[in-house]
Amino acid sequence: MRHAKVEYQGRVRTVTVGPDDLPIGDDGEILDATGLRWLPASGGTLFGVALNYRGLLEARLPEFHQPPYQKPPEKPVLFIKTPNTRNAHQGTVARPQGERLQPGPALGVVIGRRASRVSEQDALDYVRGYTVVNEFSLPEDSYYRPAIKAKCRDGFCALGPWWVDRDDIANPHDLTLTLTVNGVEKQRGSTADLIWPIPRLIAELSEFMTLNAGDVLITGTPPGRVDVSEGDQVDTTIESIGTLRNLIVTDHGGEAKQ
């Protein structure tokens, strides 16, 4: 089953999603598209994994044997998408002035219950489901320092439109991801190429951090990030899960907010 968080007629509701992709309220009422706003599919901490696709890591291996890296990563290369980055289906993303903006299609794993020191074998018991993530970033020339300036801008992590129950996805390690810009395919990959598969990620992260219900593991973006610009419609699709749509807009420098 598919579940989503929406705002409808001024109320935030957790709903299921019907066969025509429209949300259904508890009372069976179908919430029509007018006056409906999709909300981020999860509200917990967002943990990202960089360099988690085979082609991506392999392409940089020669560089990773040189300073400042010295050797390839031994553990998952993790980052946090701060709460200000949370965005939703049909949400707008501003390209920062003077910067290149790149979408990052990724499979999101939604945690279902508190996980501390979970073994690889038990890991999937702690998963509620899967969602589509577009992990926006500025291009990264270097992986040496934390990437907050590249990755923690407002609205830089779209999640949705919904999440799909874990048991409805037979094999999360065999899903095709595609990114289209204005309807033209620009990037394609498969979760079969994850270096750290989901159970290993959960085991590695929960070894030193407690994962809580609603936290999301952003499992990584396949090679081939592309630039997008104002007016572009960016669709991230993951087979058997859904399509997350975002629109790129002009950055007005961020209004001074008080």
Binding site: K75, V77, T82, N84, R145, I148, F208, E255
Partner: protein
Amino acid sequence: MKSARIQYHGDTLAVAVNDDGHPLLADGTILDPEQVTWLPPATGTMFALGLNYADHAAELSFKAAPKEPLVFVKAANAYTGHNGRSWRPDNVEYMHYECELVAVIGKTARNVPRADALDFVAGYTLCNDYAIRDYLENYYRPNLRVKNRDSTTPVGPWIVDRDDVPDPNDLRLRTYINGELRQEGTTADMIFDVAFLIEYLSGFMTLSPGDMIATGTPKGMADVQPGDVVDVEIEGIGRLRNHMVSESDFFRKNQE
């Protein structure tokens, strides 16, 4: 004035704290500070600074001071309160404390110029930004395995109102292990100060109430071991105590 979050008789409470460091209930009852559980006084994102004191950067063999702040991010799983427990993983060589002044954001901040930046600060607290050097890899350094470990960033005990700290750039910092002074410095030696950091961060992202900026530590690192009582102290702010335990003790108690 000082404010804190505590757990008392099973309730989580936001309380004022008097000049003697005693929490006050809404009805004026004065509590024994040893009879309450101190929670981290804020739970937003923590933006923490690496290499923000020239002497500490030199201690780590960095030849030149950084031109741009080195900022890493922590989430709430990392925090623990005053008198809390932090754990040293088994079989590591070097885990050290870091005494840091923390500015707590009081209102939403985006594109704030340096001159106005302190208007966006609710107050100040302190943290102990423990690090485990064994786990440093050269990717997103310092990485989450070094800096975002469960209960390994003590924060507190309280927040001191901004206006009660006339000059955050002139405060003594000290760290004690089992009562013995091990680290001493002054916030005057910070490379990037609070006002600069608010301008810098809010220049590319929105800061929210409850977010924290941990401003880095001066030189004077030393190893900590299970059984150690580690106090970090900042003049005019407070003294934050932490009990180091072993990995097995920590997780055994957590299972109970």
